[in-house]
Amino acid sequence: MNIVKFAAVATAIALVGTPAVAKEEKAATAITLPTPKPGMGQVVLFRPGGMGSAIKCTVREDGKMIGRVSGNRYYVIDAPAGTHTYTTKTEATDTINVQVEPDETTFVKCKIAMGIMVGRPNLSPSTEEEWTKSAPKMKPMEVEKIAAEIAKDEAERAASAGAN
């Protein structure tokens, strides 16, 4: 009998205690974005989950790869102040113009829309409020991995330009 009572009390404590622990863990993993480098701005590129989560959204400026995000991931791009034109492409190309301000963060989201053969990534302007709503599900892209992919892309572009 005592064992049954002990088990019931222990279960109750466990049930009551679990949410608090989960809440603390959630708070501990809140995303803190870096501040822009002095005199520079930054663009947070994020990809809210949902449709086409397997498709990666590769972003280019003047043909050069500057970032990539997969489902529920974000990547921070350092950018000098001014107007920037970013593109992304699968079977169709989508373009967005953003105005980067010094010492400020600009938000751009990438969503995957319906395509004929594959999903079409769509870059659109976003806000800090929208980012804040999506942030709890977001994880950062691995910076070293993206840097390696950018270097590889650059080498391929250089080889392609040399061949032409």
Binding site: T95, I96, V98, Q99, E104, A113, M114, N122, P125
Partner: protein, 212 residues
């Protein structure tokens, strides 16, 4: 007689103890010719145009005006209603596949007389177009091949900004504003103080104070 002569002589010699009359000090009113409006001053604007992702293109310009006067210094203000220009940073129409229209606006400047006040960081509550991407994808999944083709014809909503919509922005750099162009807010206006010009210093004058 001798006593009378002595008395006249004494009267003719000026007394050294009597203070010399102080020359009048000219008073000069110090009116600043210009006041500097610092960079990153927050301002409230109003968009004076109907804009939509369907009809506008990147680079289009539109009128803006100041909603609240900007307090500069000493009760001088840039009056509300001061006009300026904004521009469309990005516009993209709603498209097939449920893609919503996109509209991103920026503020270029306010114009006070012939002085341009450059602006930045415009945040406008543009109503985004409705994203029907989920509906299109759902139809494609549920409807098979027929649904997939039909889903391509679902369009998103257009993004719109109506005339009168308010926005926030900041001044982009320090700007020197001629006082003659500024208005006055009498609640805070501080009359310019009259400042006494320094008295001319003569060669034999004694310094008022010497640091020790």
């Amino acid at each position: 007689m001798l006593l009378l002569l002595l008395a006249v002589q004494v009267a003719a010699v000026p007394s050294e103890a009597a203070p010399a009359p102080t020359p009048p000090v000219p008073v000069v009113a110090e009116t600043p010719a210009a006041i500097v409006l610092p960079a990153l001053t927050n301002i409230r604007l109003r968009v004076l145009a109907d804009l939509a992702s369907k009809q506008n293109a990147t680079g289009d310009e539109f009128d803006i005006e100041l909603v609240e006067p900007i307090s500069v210094a000493g009760g001088y203000v840039i009056p509300s209603g001061t006009r300026g220009r904004g521009w469309v940073i990005h516009a993209d129409k709603a498209r097939f596949g449920g893609k919503a229209g996109e509209l991103l606006l920026g503020a270029r400047y306010l114009k006070l007389g012939n002085v341009e006040i450059p602006l930045r960081s415009m945040k406008v509550g543009a109503r985004p177009g409705k994203d029907n991407g989920g509906l299109a994808m759902g139809m494609a999944v549920a409807g098979g091949a027929v649904g997939g083709v039909a889903s391509m014809f679902i369009t998103g909503g257009q993004a719109r900004v109506a005339t009168g919509m308010e926005a926030m922005a900041k001044t982009a750099s320090d700007v020197e504003l001629p006082v003659a162009l500024l208005g006055r807010d009498n609640r805070y206006f501080v009359p310019v103080q009259a400042v006494a010009a320094p008295a001319p210093v003569s060669a034999g004058s004694t310094p008022v104070s010497q640091p020790k």
